[in-house]
């Protein structure tokens, strides 16, 4: 027999979204499948969200990434302290997903697949004290992209890698080796394509099916078919990428 949920072990939550349909749908799904989650209040925009968080002190906030008065990140940056976990809610392939994935934040796609909701709640329960939102806010504020920190989940926990320390990423089927400065190397269970997506627009280039390189670590590419990097490694440039690489290298 399952243990009845009491107020003392309930999870206090707040929903912040300017769409009444999304508010109702999320409340109904939480009520039906997660009786342990108590929705204390709803904010109809960022401004209301801030007030709700301050007055209700939730453990968990479901936060829309784009509201009519501000973005979810802008709202979070206006708070004095963040003492709750955030699950971002967004529509399919919103541009903010890039920032969410780069910082390994939790998110749900509207209109909420039940399995995804279950997994997000499970992750919250397992790891509710850990939140990368402060790091994400700091990354968003950092103007020098190389100073930003990429967060990658691993079996042991998380890797926090400053972009300027990444020299090469080497793909090996479903895994990738990240070669760092100081001769360090990390293995992550992500494909090279996954990492290429995360690093788009951050000064990296996929020069070969097995390699991504960081521009600031390129020492030379004299013979136009290979690149010499700051750690002494030489990586090939695939034939079909030569012109694109030259263009990227000279114009970025």
């Amino acid at each position: 027999m399952s243990k009845p949920t009491t107020i003392s072990n309930s999870i206090k939550s707040v929903i912040i979204d300017d769409d009444p349909f999304i508010q109702d749908l999320l409340i109904d799904k939480l009520n039906q499948y997660f009786p342990e989650i108590e929705v204390l209040g709803v904010g109809n925009n960022g401004k209301e969200g801030i007030l709700k968080i301050q007055s209700l002190q939730p453990d968990l906030v479901f936060l829309d990434v784009e509201m009519n008065d501000m973005t979810g990140f802008e709202m979070l940056s206006k708070l004095e302290g963040i003492h709750f976990k955030t699950i971002f809610i967004t529509s399919y392939k919103h541009y903010a997903i890039k920032a969410i994935r780069f910082n390994a934040l939790d998110y749900l796609l509207k209109p909420f697949d039940l399995e995804e909701l279950k997994n997000a709640i499970k992750r919250f329960k397992k790891n509710h004290s850990k939140d990368n939102v402060p790091l994400a806010l700091s990354n968003l504020k950092t103007k020098n992209i190389s100073e930003q920190i990429l967060v990658l989940k691993t079996q042991q926990g998380e890797l926090h890698l400053q972009l300027k320390n990444i020299i090469i990423i080497e793909g090996d089927r479903n895994y990738s080796y990240i070669h760092l400065t100081n001769n360090k190397k990390e293995l992550v269970s992500k494909t090279l394509s996954n990492i290429e997506d995360l690093l788009e627009g951050k000064g990296f280039f996929r020069c070969h099916k097995s390699y991504i390189v960081k521009k600031s670590h390129i020492t030379s590419y004299k013979n136009s078919s290979s690149i010499l990097l700051s750690n002494g490694s030489i990586v090939p440039i695939s034939r079909r990428k030569k012109d694109v690489f030259k263009d990227w290298y000279e114009n970025n």
Binding site: L25, Q32, S91, Y92, H94, P111
Partner: protein, 121 residues
């Protein structure tokens, strides 16, 4: 033309799943559709007349989850296209896509009104 008139725009399977047979809950979502969509269609028409592409993207972005929920599959792909190509899509194409969205959503609204009338009144 006749086939188009008889076309079903809305699917109620998600609504039935979330409502679990509760007619009040079903009605709540149907009424919400009836209230929110016309409002957003008006905003969309206005944004189109002003050629306000950013606003068009925001309106369709906002509508998209509710349309997915109501199973209006025909317009999900054009809506996603508007969300990503709103800055570059030629105006005549933008206009044609939005007019098609408006036409289909008006069809969906009349279907929802009919469902409310026949099943809940």
């Amino acid at each position: 033309m006749k086939a188009e008139q008889n076309k079903t725009f809305v699917s109620l399977s998600n609504l039935q799943a979330i409502s679990r047979g509760d007619p009040n809950r079903m009605l709540k979502y149907l009424n919400q559709f009836k209230e929110l969509i016309p409002e957003r269609l008006e905003q969309l028409k206005h944004a189109l007349s002003k050629e306000d592409r950013k606003n068009i993207r925001q309106i369709v972005h906002k509508m998209s989850p509710q349309l997915q929920f109501f199973g209006i599959q025909d317009i999900i792909i054009p809506i996603q296209r508007l969300e990503f190509e709103y800055e570059t899509i030629p105006y005549f194409e933008l206009e044609s896509i939005i007019n098609d969205i408006i036409y289909k959503l008006e069809g969906a609204m009349s279907e929802v009104s009919k469902i409310i009338k026949t099943q809940f009144e």
